[in-house]
């Protein structure tokens, strides 16, 4: 089959501080008509730069130093301005990473789609991307849509002029799993329907496994490996590819996966928790309000020393709100939260010093959690001095270096500024800072979300080591079920601030009782083109919890909020009362 896109030994450089920094180095690849190629890589691999070149787009300051890009037989970077404009939209179209930023805020949706040109009416396009009530939607402004809807509008805009090649730059990053799943399904369907060739840029191997026919793995601007999808996932040749694949957490891991240099996986069995382990934090019926809306609604749990309890949910589930409240950064409006040495219902400023020291929060984004103008050693020393853990400057400095090596970093890094560290190193410093006070409760708020997958594996392992060494009670907040599967001892699934299911990790993953849990599992994508979803698709359901019977108990602490199935027209199909067996 003829290739519609061909990139020949392309090199791109970025001009910075008076010298050229190569971003892409002699990269060649191509896509045949109607096929989907995925460009995979971690941050800094040059994959987004490559995607832009298909439309003749380079960032301010970048330039082509060698090679060429041909799309539909035309040399993109040799085209005159007028023809390049015609190429964009009609031959190649791009769906940008973050639709919320990619849509013009001051223009109505309909107008933005319309101006692309093409013969398809706007309303048909909106219908084609499965948006409800297109006529009304076309008159809205971007900020009036949800993230998933914005992404669908961006897709409608891209296919408006019926291009031949669709470039998808991280099309689902930032969307919730369930939304991601439906957007991917949509893209797949449209691609087949319109016979498009697609270039998918992604860091997510699960997405790639599901969507691509062929995969090109990039690292630091060079091609590491290119292969058809199935072969790449079943028999990766390059050690980097193997390590990358092995680093992805799986839904069926029985414990934390430890990844070797060449990509061998070893599953570490879960830590055995002694039955006498003391309860570190006990929360009962915690309710938290955000102005007039309720973010967390009557959540109860215990975390014991040495235990990892995971709070899982999509955005808006209240999981991070709960974490910040426990850390004393927000007030609760009801219920109790007790720690062995004090009441956690009070704000941090009003807690006794000892309690503040014992409950520590690690932030999601290591880039903003360290003061960019202070050395990382300073970041660790400050809580040491503040909590009075050590006396004197020299002792504090020595202890800070110890802590930095405790998080498996070179103590010589103490004099660096955060900007001189990699993302993974910064997150370790964030953990070291939390450990400085000698806490017994660690609240980890999405601490691996912003990290590349190989770095994520290392940080997870560090966290697992630390809780074993220090007997930490750990509250692990995450949206990613696969990550939780490896590290957590127990899981709580939150939806709109309400607990729908909780129990030991093994039990919940083996027999998810609540349809919402099953929905999350079904939407999770495994890095395996042949993977069957862990749970079947789920029918509609409704909450059936009564004040005096909220739970269905499955034994061993595994309990599920009561629910009942609902048919699409809103009626209860059978007279069966509460069921946790699900619907057929």
């Amino acid at each position: 089959m003829a290739s519609i896109v061909s990139v020949n030994s392309l090199s791109v450089s970025y001009r910075s501080g008076g010298r050229d920094v190569p971003v892409v180095h002699e990269v060649s690849w191509g896509v045949a008509e109607g096929r989907t190629l995925a460009l995979v890589g971690e941050s800094g691999s040059g994959k987004s730069t490559l995607a832009g070149t298909l439309l003749g787009h380079l960032r301010h300051g970048s330039r082509i130093t060698d090679g060429s890009v041909h799309v539909d037989g035309k040399d993109v970077f040799a085209l005159p301005a007028r023809e390049l404009r015609r190429l964009r939209g009609t031959t190649v179209a791009m769906v940008a990473q973050n639709a919320g930023h990619a849509l013009t805020p001051s223009m109505r949706i309909g107008r933005q789609i319309e101006e692309v040109g093409g013969d398809v009416p706007v309303l048909d396009l909106l219908e084609q991307v499965r948006l409800p009530r297109p006529a009304e939607l076309a008159r809205r402004y971007p900020h009036e849509l949800s993230g998933g809807q914005q992404q669908r509008v961006a897709i409608a805009m891209a296919i408006a002029a019926r291009p031949k090649v669709l470039v998808l730059d991280e099309p689902t990053t930032g969307l919730d799993v369930v939304t991601q799943r439906s957007v991917l399904d949509l893209i797949g369907a449209l691609r087949d329907e319109l016979g498009l060739a697609a270039v998918l840029v992604s860091h997510d191997l699960g997405v790639v496994a599901r969507m691509a026919d062929e995969v090109t793995v990039l690292r630091s601007g060079r091609v590491v490996e290119s292969a058809p999808t199935r072969r790449l996932f079943t028999a990766p040749q390059d050690p980097y590819t193997r390590r990358l694949l092995a680093s992805v957490p799986r839904l069926d891991d029985a414990g934390l996966a430890l990844v070797g240099e060449t990509g061998e996986r070893e599953i570490r069995p879960r830590a055995v928790l002694s039955p006498e382990a003391e309860v570190a934090v006990s929360a009962r019926d915690v309710t938290i309000d955000y102005g007039s809306s309720r973010a967390v609604h009557g959540v109860s749990f215990d975390v014991r020393r040495g235990e990892v309890l995971a709070l899982v949910g999509e955005s808006g589930s209240g999981k991070s709100t709960l974490a910040w409240t426990l850390a004393g950064l927000r007030t609760s409006s009801g219920g109790t939260m007790i720690h062995a040495s004090g009441d956690l219902a009070r704000l941090a400023g009003k807690r006794p010093l000892d309690l503040r020291r014992r409950v520590q929060l690690v932030f999601q984004n290591a880039d903003t959690s360290l003061n960019p103008r202070r050395s990382v050693g300073d970041a660790v020393r400050r809580p040491l001095r503040f909590f009075g853990t050590v006396q004197g400057r020299t002792q504090a400095a020595a202890r800070a270096r110890e802590l930095i090596s405790d998080v498996r970093l070179d103590p010589a890094l103490a004099d660096r500024l955060p900007a001189q560290l990699s993302g993974g190193q910064r997150q370790r410093i964030g953990i070291a800072r939390a450990l400085a006070g000698g806490p017994d409760v660690l609240i980890a708020d999405e601490i691996t979300t912003a990290l590349d997958v190989s770095v994520q594996a290392d940080v997870l392992r560090l966290l697992d080591d630390l809780r074993r060494e220090r007997d930490l009670a750990c509250l692990f907040i995450s949206h990613d079920l696969a990550v939780v599967r490896g590290i957590a001892d127990r899981v709580i699934v939150l939806r709109h601030g309400v607990v729908v299911e909780e129990g030991p990790t093994e039990a919940v993953f083996a027999e998810p009782g609540h349809p919402y849990t099953r929905q999350l599992m079904a939407a999770a994508l495994e890095p395996d083109p042949d993977a069957r979803p862990l749970a079947a698709d789920v029918a509609d359901w409704a909450d059936a919890a009564e004040p005096d019977s909220v739970w269905t108990d499955h034994g061993h602490g595994h309990r599920v909020r009561r629910w009942r199935p609902v048919t699409t027209d809103g009626t209860v199909p059978t007279e069966r009362t509460v069921t946790t067996e699900g619907v057929a």
Partner: protein, 297 residues
């Protein structure tokens, strides 16, 4: 497998990097360097004025009035026979002295209040915002004139008056910059530790807005110089025999067709100083990437 991450770049020591960083910024921005050089030259001239000219800037000499530029008087003389060059050289003392004092006071007060407002938020911030807006709504020149007529035209009064007029604007800029820092997780972390407001301000916020404050200082200084010269021009600033640029323009403007140099020389001095300050502000803000915050004021 152990993960002892090693350094990706050579390791400079953080404390030394602050000075080095400032120097690198300067070197990378030619604009800032040129601007600061111009300002430095002005400062030097003001300090060394007695060595650069042998004339007394306030001595009248009726026999030599209204001379054009010549060997004896390089820039000529004014209507009272005073040497124009000497007056311009000495004039920098008044302009720089008063402006630097006024700017330091203004920026210091504005920074403290602005940071506190951003950090505390709530009703304090609301009330402060309202009051500052009300103060800003009165034209600064009118406020200045009223204060100066009430309290006299001494340098101390002018410094105070400028602080009253400009502090609200500095507060706005600094508050805006600090608001961008306050939600950062490192500030949250300090709050979760239970650190005191002052400690957060000093350790976490100030180091991250020094660039904004520096740019604001240069920018504000240029405005203050302009304002002071306008005040002198109107007859409300420096008292007549004092060598001051604004005053000189006012005095010699009527004779501009006879001795243009007597008006032009102070204008050139004034303009170069302000251009220097503006270039410094511009260059620094571009090098540090804070131009948006400032111009939004």
């Amino acid at each position: 497998m152990t993960t002892l991450d090693t350094a990706p770049v050579a390791a400079p020591v953080a404390s030394a990097t602050r000075a080095a960083r400032a120097w690198r910024t300067l070197r990378s921005s030619r604009t800032a360097l040129v601007g600061l050089t111009i300002v430095a030259v002005h400062v030097l001239i003001a300090l060394l004025a007695p060595l650069l000219t042998s004339y007394d800037p306030v001595a009248n000499d009726a026999s030599h009035a209204l001379l054009g530029p010549g060997w004896e008087h390089w820039a000529g003389t004014d209507q009272y026979g005073r040497d124009v060059l000497a007056r311009v050289l000495y004039g920098g003392r008044y302009a720089l002295g008063v402006s630097v004092a006024a700017t330091v006071l203004t920026v210091a007060l504005g920074t403290v209040v602005g940071c506190a407002a951003a950090l505390r938020g709530g009703w304090l911030d609301d009330v402060l915002g309202r009051v500052l807006d009300a103060v800003l709504s009165v034209p600064s020149i009118l406020a200045l004139l009223v204060i100066v007529t009430a309290l006299g035209t001494g340098p101390a009064v002018i410094v105070l008056a400028i602080a009253v007029v400009y502090v609200p604007q500095v507060v706005r800029v600094v508050r805006g910059a600090a608001l961008a820092v306050v939600p950062a997780d490192y500030v949250t972390a300090a709050r979760a530790r239970g650190e005191r407001t002052w400690s957060i301000l000093w350790r976490e916020i100030l180091p991250n807005i020094t660039d904004v404050v520096c740019v604001e200082f240069a920018m504000r200084a240029s405005w203050v110089v302009l304002l002071i010269s306008s005040l002198s021009f109107l007859g409300f600033g420096a008292d007549p025999p004092t060598p001051d640029w604004g005053l000189m323009v006012a005095e010699n403007r009527t004779a501009i067709t006879v001795v243009p140099m007597a008006s032009l020389a102070p204008i050139i001095a004034l303009a170069t100083l302000v251009v220097g300050l503006n270039l410094a502000a511009d260059g620094l803000s571009k090098a540090w990437g804070v131009d948006r915050i400032r111009e939004g004021s």
